[in-house]
């Protein structure tokens, strides 16, 4: 049973973030059709939660539900695509900042075409893709990403750093 109050809060709190929700679901599932299923499920969950929950940060709240719904949905419907992050978390081994000479690499990265950027993001392992999408595309803070993903802020930072290293490596090589 849904009350009128919950519906009105749903319109105020969830609907303004549908594009954000769809974008995150789209990047997490890799498919527009799956993203629609996930966002619909997430909206039903959100409406139910709004009967009793007061929301302080709507965007982060909505995206947390979308993220959890997407993981549940994929485990059920796309089990082959759910990858564990075991072994990918390990200690962060970033290359040393070795090359002080001005490198053409940053120009190559800056000029990467949209298709290449999308492909590079899509190729990231799930946990890293999720972190970078929430940060760069949804604009969440470290704290909000940590809360949404149930991980410490330090892990958010290392996942973002690793995701960025992978993206720079993928985009930084001249074609």
């Amino acid at each position: 049973m849904t009350t009128e109050a919950a519906r009105s809060r749903f319109a105020e709190i969830v609907l303004p973030y549908l594009d954000d929700a769809y974008t995150l679901a789209r990047w997490m599932t890799g498919s527009t059709a799956d993203a629609e299923d996930v966002v619909q499920d997430a909206c039903v969950r959100a409406l139910r939660a709004l009967e009793t929950t007061a929301v302080e940060r709507p965007r982060a709240w909505v995206l947390t539900i979308v993220r959890n719904t997407a993981l549940t949905w994929m485990a059920k419907n796309r089990p082959a695509n759910v990858t564990s992050t075991e072994g990918e978390e390990g200690p962060l081994e970033l290359p040393e900042l070795t090359d002080p000479a001005p490198s053409p690499e940053q120009n190559v990265i800056a000029q990467a075409d949209h298709g290449a950027v999308r492909a590079a993001i899509a190729a990231l392992p799930q946990a890293f893709r999720e972190a970078i999408v929430m940060r760069e595309i949804n604009g969440l803070s470290y704290k909000e990403i940590a809360d949404a993903s149930g991980i410490p802020i330090g892990t958010v930072m290392s996942r973002l750093a690793r995701a960025r290293m992978m993206l720079m490596n993928a985009l930084g090589r001249p074609a």
């Binding site: 105020e12 629609e36 966002v39 965007r59 970033l94 002080p100 000479a101 990265i109 803070s141 750093a161």
Partner: protein, 281 residues
Amino acid sequence: MIARDLGPSDDLLMLQALLDGELDASGVIDMERRIAADPRLSAEYARLCALRGAIQGGAMREAAPDSLRARIAAATGVTPASQSNVVKFPEAAAARPPVAAVRRWRAAAGAMAAAVVALLGVNIYLVSDWGSDDIERAVVAAHTRGLISGQPIDVVSTDRHTVKPWLAGKVPLATTVVDLASDGYALSGGRVDVIADEPVPTLVYRHREHFISLTELPRGSARVSAPTRETVNGHSVVSWTDNVRRYVAVSDMSPPELDDFVANFRRAAASEREDSPPKAK
């Protein structure tokens, strides 16, 4: 390898935190100094900025398709506006929060005020009964304290896309941040002030050698009002209330200049809001 003892991954995490607007003022100053002194750090930071540009310039956001909006309407009984657009912050939702949310907001604000004081060392201006004049005096005091301490800005950045997320992580209000550089008012950064026991966002703009503090407060029960100007302790103060927020601008600029700043800010803020979709009914 001069920098070996610093540990490359820590450097990278710090560069990244600077890029993401997650450092406080002293952290920003420290990192900017280190980047200026170390060509390897500056090369890496340039790469990070280039990557951000590539991602954010790449139209990675997707609009929820109408088919999805129709499905949500059917599943929830709430009809989304068909117009799809990008809303960055919940101005509309924040305008009239439910009573329970206000209570929780106030509790959270109290906790945050303590955290902000612990982290940033900002002062708390306590006045027992918060009338309009009290708020203006507290805003002027915060502005003055910033100038006296030589630290009017917690997050130093001329980029509103850095300032806005930084403030969003610190205060429970969505902040309207607009770029007024072309009008002669350069954004210099932002800080958190604690006014009427609650942390609130303050933007700092610069006009020639003058600083302008613009503090944004919850509207509360204040009526919508046009900008009015007065003088508090020798500072020009202009305050106004729109249907979402109350604003107080303080500066030692000449009064007509502050009026001009306010007019430019209001125009830019209004045009930014027009980019938002109409509020769903």
